[in-house]
């Protein structure tokens, strides 16, 4: 058996237990455990560590008081924004106040994790409990404050506007106003976060289960005062990210390396599941007040959305999420007059940073519910209303007149929404559904169909880079700075390099997220890896090809124009001569010393030197670095549809059919794109029907385990039918967009639409459980 049939270069090691995840490293390192706040809001009166000192194997206990300058300062506000007038970030260890259950208060270092937890359990913290602010409406009412110096709990007020929405709505022949809610959920990768650090007195090496090693490195350099060239940050195999690991530096990400430096010992921390629930970021909770004006055909004339966004106890990631909601809400539609305001509010809950979809599921929920309500109001087909509002295929590039999350104008690059709509209707059986519904009704079954469309800004800048190097045996090494969490970048980027260099992917090894190999990068988020690093690899590999051809031309005495890169060599198109890439790699580096036959070919007495040219022209090595920086984001799009069945007695909701039409531009690897869609849809179904963060009025998270947080098993995810459309992006040479988040975005909108269709009353809040549906039935009666 060979690996040839495996889908991905990553798979062999992962299938044989030879992947290396964070907690697989550092066997024998000291272990950290954290004392975390049991209260949502409290003042720390005293921390008594005496009890911990008796634990054998204890090495150190640290509280905020013990931290030096830099480490004791508030953590950075990563993405400042003019609207974020009251941004607040936490301390690595709480200083006087705790503002959510799970906030770290003390760090314990011991010989192993068992002992560290023993010691942590014996630390006594005396809290003065304060009134917690739980839930968006409580935050907005502001009877109590999360931060004493933030009036109204208001971190930011953001406005987006094109045209005069109020006037357009007032003048419209039809008007509707309604409220839409989405609850908190979370990325919930199967592997939690983790950090492992070593310090040798001069150099710091940090392994982190992060989505951005280069930025963690810069943050650590700033916090710990270690010069950048003396820090390496490496992401080993990472067990899923989905956004939560793009947030950085986490308190533990600063504290563990600092402890390693302070103690001169290797230190490791691997998050457990409960810690993940109560201290790693959540997302999604928003309330939306929507007002829409439209004409007799269902065309939107004006749209006004007032958004209340729950950003949790701190704002380290700025207000990216509500910016995304308020821009991506427009979807595939032409909305001539639009106005959105966002109040971004503090609550005594875990911080909120992007989770796959990142504000888009909420925006799409608003737009799609709006389309359905217009259709219901005018008694029109829901697909027809959408079709009438679409941006037409000949209207690209389409400028919405707003500013996107990358600070650049919101201009769509390409797409074909009417064609997507036709495809999704065919895939789900939209037109024949009335008969199907009737047939089901005749059997006493209640089924409904729903539809949702989205546009997703992908591949945001500022840039990514890559390094491509051919070594003397002809093998090619590719490195890019952004990180992988299971997307298959090693496979996809190898495909890009292989196409450029005319070799097989088995000849290529790709490294991601290792600052030793590539130090410039932004990170993996916003469905940007294929667009950004894909194009960067193409640029770098293109330069290597050029270099190889130039060198081969010299060696073979041929015209570069007559040569091509193929089959692992540079050869004359007429077949008259060829030279291997490995040999060219050797020749590209003139040597004084040789140590094998290959290198002897590049020695100073090999061949007949030209006495009039220096031995080295340009730079040695058959290698090159390339960067890709787009003028603005690409915009992928798609449409989902579902058929659901609602049990008339138990209100149990079953997804019978689920269909996806997806356009992420050119697909480098359709199987992996489909995998991304599947995973996204599963998370979407989870967010629509199962997952929520259940905070009680005291700010306690009641379901902080996999027993109680209902992550779907295989039995909860329906079979997913997919179809693709490829409208290449004109913005980048590969024509790719991005696929990472697409699957999750419209699912809540689609499921709500289908349940509404089955039940005949409005579904305006998601997720929805059978008991909630049961209550809605009661209210509708």
């Amino acid at each position: 058996m060979t690996d040839v049939a495996l889908s991905r270069k990553e798979d062999h090691r992962l299938l044989t237990g030879r992947g290396r995840f964070l907690d697989d490293l550092g066997r024998g390192a000291l272990c950290a455990a954290f004392v975390r706040s049991p209260h949502a809001h409290a003042r720390i009166r005293d921390i008594d560590v005496a009890g911990a000192l008796a634990v054998e194997g204890l090495v150190a206990v640290y509280t905020w008081e013990d931290l030096p300058a830099g480490v004791r300062d508030p953590l950075p506000l990563l993405i400042p924004h003019p609207s974020l007038t009251h941004g607040r970030t936490p301390y690595a260890l709480a200083r006087e106040f705790v503002r959510h259950v799970g906030e770290p208060v003390a760090m314990v270092i011991a010989a192993d994790r068992y002992l560290a937890e023993d010691a942590a359990a014996r630390i006594d913290v005396d809290y003065e409990v304060l009134r917690p602010v739980v839930g968006i409406e409580t935050a907005a009412a502001a009877e109590h404050l999360v931060h004493a110096d933030v009036p109204g709990n208001l971190g930011a007020r953001l406005e987006q506007s094109v045209g005069d929405a109020a006037a357009a709505i007032a003048a419209a022949p039809h008007r509707l106003a309604f409220r839409l809610d989405i609850e908190r959920s979370a990325s919930m990768p199967l592997e939690g976060k983790g950090v492992y650090a070593r310090w040798d007195g001069e150099d710091l090496r940090v392994y982190s289960s992060t989505q951005t090693t280069t930025s963690v490195r810069m943050a650590l350099s700033a916090k710990l005062g270690v010069p950048l060239p003396h820090i390496e940050v490496i992401a080993p195999d990472v067990g899923g990210g989905f956004g939560v690991k793009i947030m950085h530096p986490w308190p533990e990400e600063v504290l563990v390396p600092w402890a390693a430096m302070t103690l001169g010992r290797e230190v490791k921390w691997a998050e457990d599941r409960r810690e993940h629930f109560i201290s790693s970021a959540h997302e999604r909770a928003q309330i939306h007040h929507v007002e829409v004006g439209f004409d007799d055909d269902g065309r939107v004339l004006g749209l006004d959305v007032r958004i209340l966004h729950d950003h949790g106890a701190y704002t380290p990631y700025g207000i990216i999420l509500p910016i995304v909601t308020s821009t991506q809400l427009l979807g595939p539609y032409k909305i001539p007059s639009y106005h959105a305001t966002v109040d971004s509010l503090y609550t005594n809950a875990v911080i909120v940073t992007p989770y796959r979809g990142a504000g888009r599921p909420q925006g799409v929920f608003c737009a799609e519910r709006t389309m359905d309500k217009i259709a219901a109001h005018l008694d029109l087909d829901r697909a027809v209303v959408r079709r009438r509002n679409f941006i037409e295929p000949d209207e690209f590039p389409y400028d919405h007149g707003l500013t996107f999350q990358d600070g650049r104008p919101l201009i769509y690059d390409s797409g074909d929404y009417p064609q997507s709509l036709e495809k999704i209707k065919a895939l789900i059986g939209w037109d024949g559904f009335a008969a199907r519904r009737e047939a089901a009704a005749a059997e006493g079954r209640r089924i409904g169909i729903g539809l949702g469309c989205y546009v997703e800004g992908t591949g945001v800048g500022p840039y990514e880079g890559a390094h491509v190097q051919v070594v003397s045996n002809g093998h090619v090494y590719v490195a890019t700075g952004l990180t992988s969490q299971g997307q298959g970048h090693q496979t996809v980027l190898a495909q890009v390099a292989a196409a450029e260099l005319g070799i097989g992917t088995e000849q290529i090894t790709v490294t991601t997220g290792d600052t030793r190999r590539f130090g410039y990068s932004v990170g993996t988020f916003a469905s940007r890896a294929a667009v950004m690093s894909g194009n960067a690899v193409a640029v770098a590999a293109g330069k290597v090809k050029e270099k190889a051809i130039a060198l081969a031309a010299k060696v073979l005495g041929a015209d570069p124009g007559s040569l091509e890169c193929a089959g692992g060599e540079v050869r004359a198109r007429d077949g008259s001569a060829a030279i291997g890439l490995g040999t060219l790699a050797v020749l590209s580096n003139p040597l004084r010393y040789s140590f094998d036959e290959e290198s002897a070919r590049a020695g100073q007495f090999a061949g007949v030197p030209d006495p009039d040219t220096p031995p080295l022209e340009g730079e040695p090595g058959l290698e090159a670095t390339g960067y890709y920086s787009p003028i603005r984001s690409t915009f992928a799009s798609g449409m989902h549809a579902a058929v659901v069945e609602c049990d008339p007695e138990t209100a149990e909701i079953t997804v019978l059919d689920y269909a996806v039409v997806h356009d992420c531009g050119r697909m480098i690897n359709p199987q992996l794109v489909e995998g991304q869609v599947h995973g996204g849809v599963a998370q979407g179904i989870a967010g629509a029907l199962y997952e929520r963060m259940a905070y009680d009025e005291h700010g306690q998270l009641l379901n902080a385990s996999f027993m109680d947080f209902l992550m779907p098993y295989a039995t909860e995810v329906p079979a997913i039918d997919t179809d693709h459309l490829e409208t290449p992006s004109p913005l980048n040479p590969l024509g790719v967009k991005g696929a990472g988040e697409a699957g999750v975005i419209p699912v809540s909108a689609v499921i709500a639409s289908a349940i509404e269709d089955a039940e005949g009353f409005a579904i305006d809040a998601m997720p929805i459980s059978p008991s909630q549906l049961h209550h809605l039935r009661g209210a509708a009666r």
Binding site: M1, D3, A5, L6, S7, R8, E10, D11, H12, L14, L15, T16, G17, R18, G19, R20, F21, D23, D24, R27, D112, Y114, M188, P189, L190, E191, D237, V238, G239, G240, F242, D272, R273, Q485, G486, Q487, G488, Q671, L672, E674, G675, V677, H678, G679, G680, V681, A682, Q683, S705, F706, M707, M711, Y713, A714, T715, V717, A719, I720, G743
Partner: protein, 154 residues
């Protein structure tokens, strides 16, 4: 205390406190980190190993309880260099993304197909419905189980 297990056919022995979990013992004391811990409370199935050929959650079991028993971990599924049919099928069908849940699925499915060489779709769904995967949406995992049963037949 001294604990001895037959791991992947080899007797292995190490000192450990009575409270040490089987998962931590395998990963830490025996240096076999292929078995993953996703929840440490028995729900995700990532830590599944075969104890005397039957799947168990190693995070719910003390190493001491397994003393003297046979344990198969993901590291022991491949024979020599050849992947087992289950491993091969997961690779072919793109049944893994990050690979963190994968060891638990592989061990679970290996035991399942031993007992049910020709499973129905319903039996397959049932067999994998005790393991969580956050990446794949399960579509290709189900396909991989079907494919593995084909491979085992041929």
């Amino acid at each position: 205390m001294r604990i001895t297990l037959h791991v992947n056919g080899v007797p292995r022995s190490a000192e450990a406190e009575p409270r040490v979990l089987l998962s931590d013992f395998l990963r830490g004391e025996l240096g076999l980190p292929g078995t993953h811990v996703g929840c440490e409370h028995g729900v995700c199935g990532a830590c599944t190993v075969l104890l005397d050929d039957r799947p168990v959650r190693s995070c719910l079991m003390l190493a001491a309880t397994a003393d003297g028993h046979h344990v198969t971990t993901v590291e022991g599924l491949a024979e020599e260099a050849a992947l087992s049919p289950v491993q091969q099928a997961f690779g072919e069908c793109h049944g893994l993304q990050c690979g963190f849940c994968t060891p638990g699925f592989l061990t679970t499915v290996t035991a399942f197909l031993e007992a049910h060489p020709k499973p129905t779709d319903e039996e397959i769904l049932d067999a994998v419905s005790g393991n969580l995967c956050r990446c794949t949406g399960y579509q290709n995992i189900v396909k991989a189980v079907r494919r593995a049963s084909e491979l085992m037949e041929s």
